[in-house]
C-alpha cells in the first residue's frame, strides 16, 4: 500500500518541473508583449541620450533573438540571479525574500484559523442540515462571498481602531513607536522573540489581529460550506446507516463520517491558500502590510518588468507546491486516488 502511495507521489513530483518550466515561458512571453522599451524604462524619464539607451539595450541583451533572451534569463534564474529591480536597485530575489515572509505569515495564519473554525462549525451545522445554524450559515456564506475583502478590512478598522480604539493603527506589521527587532527571519513576531523583545512581540501580534480577522471573516465560509455539505452528504450514506443500525459505537460512526469529509476539506483549504497568495494584495494595502503582494503592485504600477516576472514565478511556484501537497494529502486521506 505504501509503495503505491510513494509511486503516486513520485509521479506527481516529476510533473512539477515541466509545469514550472511552462510557467516560466508564459511569464516571460507575457512581459515580452508589454508595450514600451525596457531599456528606456530602466533608465527612467531622463533617458534622452540615444547612445546610453543603446548601451542599456545591449547590457540587457534586448537585441538578441527572443529565444536567446529566454535561455539567458532562465539560466540565470536557475542560478539564483533574477536580475535587479530598477526601482529598488536591489537583486529581485533578495527583495522577494524580504517581503514574502510577511505575506506567508498572514495567509498561513488566516488559512489555519479558517480551517479550525470552518471545520468545527461546519461539522455541527452539517449534522443538523435543517437546523437554524445551518440555514443562517448558508446565508452568511453567500453574503461573505459578496463582500470585497478590502472593504471588510476598512470596516473592521473603523469599528476597532476608530470607534472602539482597541486595535492599533493600520500602518504595518509593528507600531511606529516600537523599535523593530533585528531582521533575521523577516517574520516580525519571531524576530522579536529571537531578540527577546517583548514589547515588539506584543505590538507585532496585535497588528496581526485585524488583517487575519478580515481574511477569516470573508474566506472562512468557503471552508465551512464545504465541510458542512460533506457531513450532510455522508451522514445518510448507506455504509454509515448500516454501521449505525448494526449498533456500531457512536464514536466509530463519527470517525468514519469525518474520515470521509477529509478529502474535500483538504482541497478547499488548498484552493483558499492559493487564492490568498495573490488575493491578500488588497488586504495588505489596507493595513500597509508591505508584503509580497504590495511588492507586486508597486512593480506593476512602475512597469518594473523583471520584478513582475519574479513575482509571477514565485506565485506560480507556490501555487504548484500547494497543489502538490494537497494532492499528496488527498492520496493519504483517500486511498482510491493512488490506484
Amino acid at each position: 500500500m505504501n509503495r503505491a502511495l510513494l509511486r503516486y507521489v513520485a509521479r506527481r513530483v516529476a510533473f512539477l518541473l515541466p509545469q514550472l518550466f511552462i510557467v516560466s515561458i508564459i511569464a516571460f512571453a507575457l512581459l515580452k508583449l508589454t508595450p514600451g522599451d525596457p531599456a528606456r524604462l530602466a533608465l527612467g524619464p531622463a533617458a534622452t541620450n540615444e547612445v546610453s539607451v543603446q548601451a542599456m539595450r545591449e547590457r540587457l541583451g534586448l537585441d538578441d533573438p527572443v529565444v536567446v533572451q529566454y535561455v539567458k534569463y532562465i539560466t540565470n534564474v536557475v542560478q539564483a540571479d533574477w536580475g535587479r529591480s530598477f526601482r529598488t536597485q536591489e537583486p529581485i530575489l533578495e527583495d522577494i525574500g524580504r517581503r514574502l515572509p510577511a505575506t506567508l505569515e498572514l495567509i498561513t495564519l488566516a488559512t489555519l484559523i479558517s480551517l479550525l473554525l470552518g471545520a468545527s462549525i461546519g461539522i455541527v451545522a452539517g449534522l443538523r442540515p435543517r437546523g437554524i445554524l445551518n440555514r443562517f450559515l448558508t446565508w452568511y456564506g453567500f453574503f461573505a462571498g459578496s463582500i470585497p475583502d478590502f472593504w471588510m478590512g476598512l470596516l473592521l478598522i473603523f469599528f476597532f481602531f476608530h470607534l472602539a480604539g482597541i486595535a492599533p493603527a493600520p500602518l504595518g506589521q509593528i507600531s511606529i513607536s516600537t523599535a523593530a527587532p533585528p531582521e533575521k527571519t523577516y517574520l516580525v513576531p519571531i524576530d522579536a522573540l529571537i531578540a527577546g523583545n517583548w514589547a515588539a512581540f506584543e505590538s507585532a501580534i496585535t497588528h496581526l489581529v485585524l488583517p487575519t480577522l478580515t481574511l477569516v471573516l470573508v474566506y472562512m465560509p468557503a471552508v465551512l460550506k464545504t465541510v458542512s455539505a460533506a457531513v450532510e452528504k455522508y451522514r445518510s450514506e448507506p455504509f454509515l446507516v448500516a454501521a449505525r443500525v448494526h449498533g456500531m459505537r457512536r464514536r466509530y460512526v463519527y470517525w468514519y463520517l469525518f474520515r470521509n469529509t477529509l478529502p474535500p476539506t483538504i482541497t478547499i483549504v488548498g484552493v483558499l491558500f492559493v487564492f490568498l497568495i495573490g488575493g491578500t494584495v488588497l488586504v495588505e494595502k489596507v493595513f500597509a502590510w508591505n508584503g509580497f503582494g504590495q511588492y507586486a503592485v508597486e512593480a506593476v504600477l512602475r512597469k518594473d518588468l523583471l520584478a513582475v516576472q519574479g513575482f509571477l514565478l514565485v506565485a506560480a511556484a507556490f501555487t504548484m507546491l500547494t497543489y502538490l501537497i494537497v494532492d499528496i494529502l488527498y492520496a493519504v486521506a483517500d486511498p482510491r486516488v493512488r490506484l
Binding site: 508589454t34 459578496s146 476598512l154 476608530h162 493600520p170 513582475v308
Partner: protein, 294 residues
C-alpha cells in the same frame, strides 16, 4: 372544474400574477432581481436624473457628512457620493456584462468544438488534448495575480480591464461546456442524428450546443459578481480604471484614509453597493441553477 378550464384560467392570469408564479414564492430571488434591475436602470438613466455631476469637484463642499442636499455626503473632491454610486454601474456593470458575455461566447465555442473530438484520435484529438492542457495551466494561476499582471501589461483603461477579465473567465465557461458536451455526445439522440445522416456541423451546432450551453449560462450570473469584485479590486490598487471615473472600487480607495479618522461615508456607501450587487447576482445564479436542475 375541468382541466380545460384550468388551462384557460392560467392563461388569463394578470401579468403580476404570472411573474409571481414564475418566482414561485422565492422572496429572495424576487428581491435580488428587483435590486439588480433598480441598480441597472438607475445607472442607465442617471444622466437624466436630477443628480449632481459625479465627476465635478466642488472644493467648498469637501467631505460633507450625509445631509438632505447630499444624502450620502461628499467625497474628498467635494463630489456628491450618491450621484457617484448611481453612476458607477455604467462602468462596473458594463465591464461585468461585457467580459462575461465575451467569455461565455469564447468558452462555449472552444468548449463545443474542442471537446466533441476529445479521445477520438487523429489531429482533432491531438489538438483537443493541447487545448485542455492549456486551459488547465491558465486556470492553475491564482485569478487575481493574473489579473494584476495582465492589467499592468495591457494598460488600465476600461477596455483593457474587459479584455483581462474575458481572458480570465473563458476557461471557467470552457470547463462547464466541456463537462456537458462529454456527457451529451454519448447520448442516444446524438447517435440517432448522426445515423440518420445529419452532417457533423449540424449535430454539433444544433443538437449538442442546444443541450450543453445551459450550465454555462447559469454560471454567468455569479461570474458577473466575481467580475465586479475583481474590477473594484484592481481599481482599488490603482491598476484598473482611473479617477475621477465613478467606480465603486476607486471610491472606496479614495475614502480609505478618511475612514481612519472617522469619516465613514466616502468608503462605506460604495462598498455596500458592491455587496448588494454581488450578493444579488449570487442569489439569481443559485435560483437559476435550481430551476435548471428540476
Amino acid at each position: 372544474m375541468t382541466i380545460a378550464s384550468l388551462g384557460v384560467e392560467r392563461r388569463t392570469r394578470s401579468l403580476a400574477g404570472r411573474i409571481w408564479r414564475w418566482f414561485d414564492g422565492d422572496w429572495l430571488f424576487l428581491g435580488a432581481v428587483i435590486a439588480l434591475s433598480t441598480i441597472a436602470i438607475l445607472g442607465l438613466i442617471a444622466p437624466h436624473l436630477p443628480l449632481a455631476d459625479p465627476e465635478l469637484p466642488v472644493p467648498e463642499d469637501r467631505l460633507q457628512p450625509p445631509s438632505w442636499s447630499h444624502p450620502f455626503g461628499t467625497d474628498v473632491n467635494g463630489s456628491d457620493i450618491l450621484s457617484r454610486v448611481i453612476y458607477a454601474p455604467r462602468v462596473d456593470l458594463l465591464i461585468a456584462i461585457l467580459s462575461v458575455l465575451l467569455a461565455l461566447a469564447f468558452g462555449s465555442v472552444i468548449g463545443l468544438f474542442g471537446t466533441f473530438f476529445q479521445g477520438r484520435g487523429g489531429i482533432a484529438g491531438l489538438l483537443t488534448e493541447l487545448l485542455n492542457r492549456t486551459m488547465d495551466i491558465l486556470q492553475s494561476f491564482p485569478a487575481f495575480i493574473v489579473a494584476l499582471a495582465l492589467a499592468g501589461v495591457v494598460g488600465s483603461d476600461l477596455w483593457s480591464v474587459i479584455g483581462v477579465l474575458t481572458f480570465l473567465f473563458t476557461p471557467i465557461f470552457f470547463r462547464f461546456v466541456r463537462g456537458e458536451v462529454l456527457h451529451i455526445r454519448e447520448r442516444l439522440f446524438i447517435e440517432a442524428q448522426t445515423a440518420a445522416g445529419s452532417p457533423l456541423w449540424r449535430v454539433l451546432l444544433v443538437n449538442v450546443s442546444r443541450n450543453s450551453v445551459g450550465a454555462a449560462v447559469v454560471q454567468a450570473s455569479p461570474t458577473m459578481g466575481f467580475a465586479i469584485l475583481l474590477t473594484a479590486g484592481l481599481a482599488f490598487l490603482g491598476v484598473g480604471v482611473k479617477p475621477p471615473t465613478p467606480e465603486w472600487g476607486l471610491m472606496i480607495s479614495s475614502g480609505q484614509e478618511q475612514l481612519y479618522v472617522g469619516r465613514w461615508w466616502p468608503a462605506i456607501f460604495p462598498g455596500m453597493a458592491i455587496a448588494i450587487t454581488v450578493f444579488s447576482l449570487a442569489v439569481v445564479g443559485e435560483a437559476l441553477r435550481r430551476r435548471l436542475e428540476q
